[in-house]
Amino acid sequence: MRGPGVSLCALLCLAVSVAVPVGGGRPVRLERVRADARALTRTLSTRLQQLQLFPLTLRISGLEGVPEGGLPDGGPPPGLGWAAQRLQLFQRLLAALPGPDVRLAQVSNDLENLRSLLGVLGALLGCPAPPAPPAAPAPHGEAPHTLAGVALARLRGCLDGVAARLEGVPAC
């Protein structure tokens, strides 16, 4: 299922294995981008899994600002725009956490790469630019680790949705 923003050119490009110049003019094929996005999604999910996060079912009060990672109920499944927006939100949230942590920094880098890949993928598909994400919640000064744990756990749920989107022809 394709989003409304998919242009005729994007469809044509899909048919001929479209390629767009990225990073200095090298044409990138759609399949390569999609494969890399899927691989990075799996890598990031594995990374989060090894962090031994909170279970997704754990409900912690006071963290309502942390975005939910799961897919929204009802309606069509969200596309690349939703995924990129949600990832950016998580990235901002992680960046706002206090203290240097190499693991969180790596997750943040992966998120940035994944967002870039989704952006390239959206460009290949002719998708419109995703809207700017809402402002990240202010860091919970009293329980930063809990906030990080909840955020990463929900991020993992989000990645599952992204991975599902990337299995087929992704929608905008």
Partner: protein, 984 residues
């Protein structure tokens, strides 16, 4: 001024004389040392001796005359280290200038010497001479003039008359007491100049010798201008400059590059020969800016390590650092350094290699890396390279590696799990080896399918333990192999149920007191190929008529004893392991009735050697079907368990391989095993003497009459051929007129003998090479192969008169019966102590093969004999000479032209003769001079000497030893060719 002009004119002539007769010193390239001597009238006499050291003391003497007023000149003889000078006056005769006539030797003291440096300025408009006085205590009123005189001709080519012109004076500016500068304007590059110095200090005048100068040689170009340095690609520096003014000749440029202070002082100098004008040299290759930057991302994909090595020289020349720029995603096709790059700290690892670590990393960003070289001349950059960390991942090793030898197939099944963080497709490699064997190399195997997580490895020993490791790498990307996984060890387990039960035998023992017979079953452990991999127990099934079968189990050992109570008792032994019971099993019926059946008629044991005994037996006729034989043997001198083996029923002999002690006594027993039970055994406890038959007796009975009858026929044929050969050959050899092959052959010539003894060219493909005649032989032998015969035979003729003889000779490819006849002759000749030789016939069928005729002949004619040595020797000789050759050993006396006296008479004369010389005659003696042989043995005598070893020869494994050389006697083709040539 007037006086000066007059002086110059006077000197013009004077210079002509001086230049023609005095040694003129050529000015070397710019810099030289010039002596100046005191021009003292007292001293100036060429006939007064003096020394240079005295000159110094007379400085400042009151009686000095001015140099300019004298017609004097200093002539010097120059050498590399010193010079000898004398003074010339215009009044002297020219001949007095000859240096040999000047007895004025000067010491080496040159206190008044000047260092002189002259050059033509780069614009070619001025000759500059700089003077530097080596001694600085001169007076303040020192005046120096440079006098010169120019000519278009070189000094070597100038004649006295050509030295014309005006002597000019160039004043010198002495700025201080130590140095002066003389300028000579507008020198002509085509002229040769004579110049000298005049030095006046107060009343003291000093003069220098004549100097010769060519301005062309001492041009000092102006320094290059507009020198600039440019940084080129790949770490090279380009130097460019311009010449200040064009010159009418090419210039050679020299470039000097020095390292900055504190960097070891390394210098690189380059010279280029460029044309005049703008000149350029290529960029110099140092520092080496070729860097190979390799990066590797760890299996957790959180860290990327980049390594690069630097040239030690480059490290001396400047500083190096890694710079990088990260793109948002991926790399560009043409990575280039970016201005917003960053420096990455790298650690020196030794051996001039550096290691830089990026952590955390952007897995899919493009890292453009390059090395920056900082030098005093500027900054250089290496070629940038772009790396995506996700493309250079070295995966973690596979996990959960397991190894197991599969049941039924015996393959080593290896399984593993994909490592974590392996998000791309991987390929796997397996290595295995028997466990605990460190010395054995690993065996490598590529996993057949990249997507598979297991592989089946065929292993040579499925019942062994194996150690297995697995590694992986990405199908795409950098293809770094991961480390090997931890080793997994397979367990030895049963692969399948035993294929068959063990072979077993029984030993019956009777208890005389209890009148009970006990049967002990003996079996051999199963081979591993039959058990795969183990046998946990043996099951003994008993069955007797009228009783239900029962079983006994033996977990350990390979024997079992039970009482034999019933007349008939059938026993079956099964093998069992964890996977089941053997399907194919042997059984044995113990029957009292069948134990009386005497089926084995004879049994003989032949001791071959200490490890082999041949047991041969024969059966009685009219016996029931035999399932198998069982051979028992035991050492009667020792109390040891009986040994046994099972033999197929179609065999009548068997080779037992064991360790037999020759002095011990052994008993061999042969049991026929019938379906109804074990028959009566036949035993022997001593080794039979003599040979044994390899075939069965029945076939020998058939073969012997055939061989005998064939021998008779062949003997008859031999006799007939003897007669024909004697007619055709024996008499004709002495008389060439009666034998075509001998016509035209001059036996007095050595060449004839050579031809006769030469090897026939066409058909002789068999070995061995022609050998020298042996001086003493014991045998006379004729051997003929059954192979293809030479078509031409020995002789050829076109004479009808000689046809009989020729046909006899041409039939010389002898038949088998003939060789025994010759053996007979040989025996007689041997007793005569004569010399023997051999005639070799052609053997078209080459190749090493068994001479069939020999055993057949020996079998027919020698087998019945009583003296095996004679014919045995012959047979050995024939065998060794082998390969289908025909060997004839004959006494030289057989060549006698008078015929063959002796028992054979005319029959012997038809044979092709063979011998060439008697023992008491020299090798070069004519055959016609040989004494006749007498007392040739008869066939019977020969047969009596034939060995009883025909069967040995018929066995491939019993190859006779020892070689009997032979000599071919005739080369018929050569004789035939010679005959034809003579006819032409």
């Amino acid at each position: 001024i007037y006086n000066r002009i007059i002086f110059v004119l006077k000197w013009s002539y004077f210079l002509q004389m001086a230049a023609a007769h005095c040694m003129v010193h050529p000015v070397p390239a710019r810099n030289f040392t010039l002596p100046c001597v005191l021009l003292n009238e007292t001293f100036l006499s060429p006939f007064s001796a003096g020394s240079w050291s005295g000159l110094g003391r007379e400085l400042g003497a009151p009686k000095l005359k001015h140099f300019m007023n004298e017609e004097n000149f200093l002539c010097c003889l120059w050498s590399a280290s010193n010079f000898d000078c004398s003074l010339y006056r215009a009044s002297m005769q020219a001949r007095k200038f000859i240096p040999s006539e000047i007895n004025l030797s000067a010491p080496q003291k040159i206190d008044w010497s000047w260092n002189v440096e002259c050059w033509i300025r780069g614009r070619l408009d001025l000759l500059v001479c700089n003077l530097q006085l080596l001694k600085l205590d001169l007076r303040a009123d020192l005046k120096v003039n440079l006098l010169y005189w120019g000519s278009e001709l070189s000094l070597g080519a100038a004649s006295t008359s050509s030295l014309q012109g005006t002597v000019r004076v160039a004043p010198c500016d002495c700025r201080d007491q130590a140095s002066c500068q003389c300028l000579l304007g507008t020198p002509s590059l085509r002229h040769t100049y004579l110049l000298w110095l005049e030095v006046v200090a107060g009343d003291t005048a000093l003069g220098s010798p004549l100097l010769a100068l060519r301005p062309w040689d001492i041009v000092k170009p102006e320094a290059p201008v507009k020198l600039r340095l440019e940084l080129a690609e790949r770490g090279q520096v380009k130097l460019c400059w311009s010449s200040p003014a064009p010159l009418p000749f090419p210039l050679q440029h020299q470039v000097r590059v020095s390292a900055p202070p504190g960097r070891g002082g390394s210098q690189v100098r380059h010279r280029a020969f460029c044309g005049a004008g703008h000149a350029r040299i290529p960029a110099f290759p140092n520092p080496d800016m070729d860097f190979n930057i390799s990066c590797e991302t760890d299996g957790y994909q959180t860290k990327m390590t980049c390594r690069w090595s630097a040239n030690p020289t480059t490290l001396l020349l400047g500083s190096l650092q890694l710079r990088y720029h990260r793109s948002q995603i991926y790399c560009s096709d043409f990575p280039s350094p970016s201005p917003d790059s960053e420096v990455k700290e790298c650690l020196l690892q030794g051996n001039h290699s550096y290691e830089c670590t990026f952590q955390p990393i952007f897995l899919l960003s493009g890292y453009t890396l390059w090395i920056e070289f900082k030098h005093s001349l500027g900054t250089l950059q290496s070629s940038p390279t772009c790396v995506i960390p996700a493309d250079v991942v070295k995966p973690l090793p596979p996990s959960s590696v397991g190894a197991e030898v599969s049941r039924n197939t015996g393959l080593l099944n290896v399984s593993w799990a994909q490592p974590v963080f392996a998000s791309r497709d991987l390929t796997f490699q397996i290595r295995w080896k028997p466990g605990g064997r460190e010395e054995l190399p690993w065996q490598l195997l590529e996993a057949p399918e990249p997507a598979c997580r297991w592989a089946a490895v065929p292993v040579p020993q499925p019942c062994a333990q194996y150690e297995v490791q697995v590694r992986c790498r990405e199908l795409q990307g950098s293809r770094y192999w991961s480390d090997w996984s931890r080793a997994a060890r397979s367990l030895v387990q049963d692969i399948r149920a035993p294929l068959r039960g063990p072979e077993f035998w029984r030993v019956v023992s009777e208890d005389p007191a209890g009148k009970q017979r006990n049967v002990t079953l003996l079996w051999k452990p199963l081979m591993q190929n039959d058990s795969l991999c183990s046998v946990s127990r043996y099951i003994i099934e008993h069955q007797t008529p009228g009783s239900p079968p029962w079983e006994e189990f033996v977990d350990h050992g390979t024997s079992w004893t039970f009482p034999w109570l019933e007349p008939t008792h059938t026993v079956t032994i099964l093998a069992m392991n964890s996977l089941g019971i053997s399907a194919i099993n042997s059984n044995l019926t113990l029957s009292q009735q069948m134990s009386t059946v005497d089926a084995v008629q004879s049994l003989s044991a032949y001791l071959v050697n200490s490890t082999c005994v041949v047991v041969v037996w024969s059966l009685s006729p009219q016996i029931p079907a035999i399932k198998s034989f069982v051979i028992e043997w035991r050492n009667l001198n020792k109390e040891e368990q009986v040994k046994w083996l099972r033999v197929p029923p179609n065999l009548r002999k068997y080779f037992i391989y064991d360790h037999f002690i020759l002095i011990e006594k052994y008993q061999f027993s042969l049991y026929p095993v019938f379906a109804g039970g074990v028959g009566k055994a036949r035993a022997t406890d001593q080794f039979a003497q003599g040979g044994f038959e390899t075939g069965n007796a029945g076939s020998l009975h058939v073969v012997l009459p055939i061989v005998f009858s064939t021998s008779v026929l062949l003997l008859g044929a031999l006799l007939l051929s003897h007669q024909r050969m004697k007619k055709l050959l024996w008499e004709d050899v002495p008389n060439p007129k009666n034998c075509s092959w001998a016509q035209g052959v001059n036996f007095q010539q050595p060449e004839t003998l050579e031809h006769l003894f030469a090897k026939p060219p066409e058909p002789m493909s068999c070995e061995p090479l022609l050998l020298e005649a042996e001086m003493v032989l014991e045998d006379i032998s004729i051997t003929k192969t059954l192979g293809k015969e030479e078509p031409g035979g020995f002789l050829g003729t076109d004479s009808p008169q000689d046809s009989e003889c020729d046909s006899a000779c041409s039939s010389s490819p002898f038949q088998s019966s003939s060789f025994c006849r010759s053996c007979q002759h040989g025996a007689a000749v041997a007793r005569g102590g004569l010399r023997y030789a051999t005639v070799t016939s052609s053997c078209p069928s080459s190749g090493l093969r068994r001479p069939k005729s020999c055993p057949g002949s020996c079998l027919g004619s020698c087998f019945l004999g009583q003296h095996p040595k004679v014919l045995g020797g012959f047979c050995r000789g024939a065998w060794e000479a082998g390969r289908g050759a025909v060997l004839l050993h004959r006494a030289l006396s057989l060549l006698s032209p008078q015929g063959l006296p002796g028992p054979l008479g005319e029959a012997e004369r038809s044979l092709c003769y063979l011998g060439v010389a008697a023992t008491d005659t020299g090798p070069g003696d004519s055959p016609t001079d040989s004494p006749g042989a007498t007392g040739l043995p008869t066939e019977r005598e020969l047969l009596q000497h034939s060995p009883n070893r025909a069967t040995e020869l018929s066995q491939g494994g019993l190859k006779p030893k020892g070689a009997v050389p032979y000599v071919p006697q005739f080369r018929m083709a050569a004789a035939k060719g010679q005959e034809a040539a003579e006819k032409k």
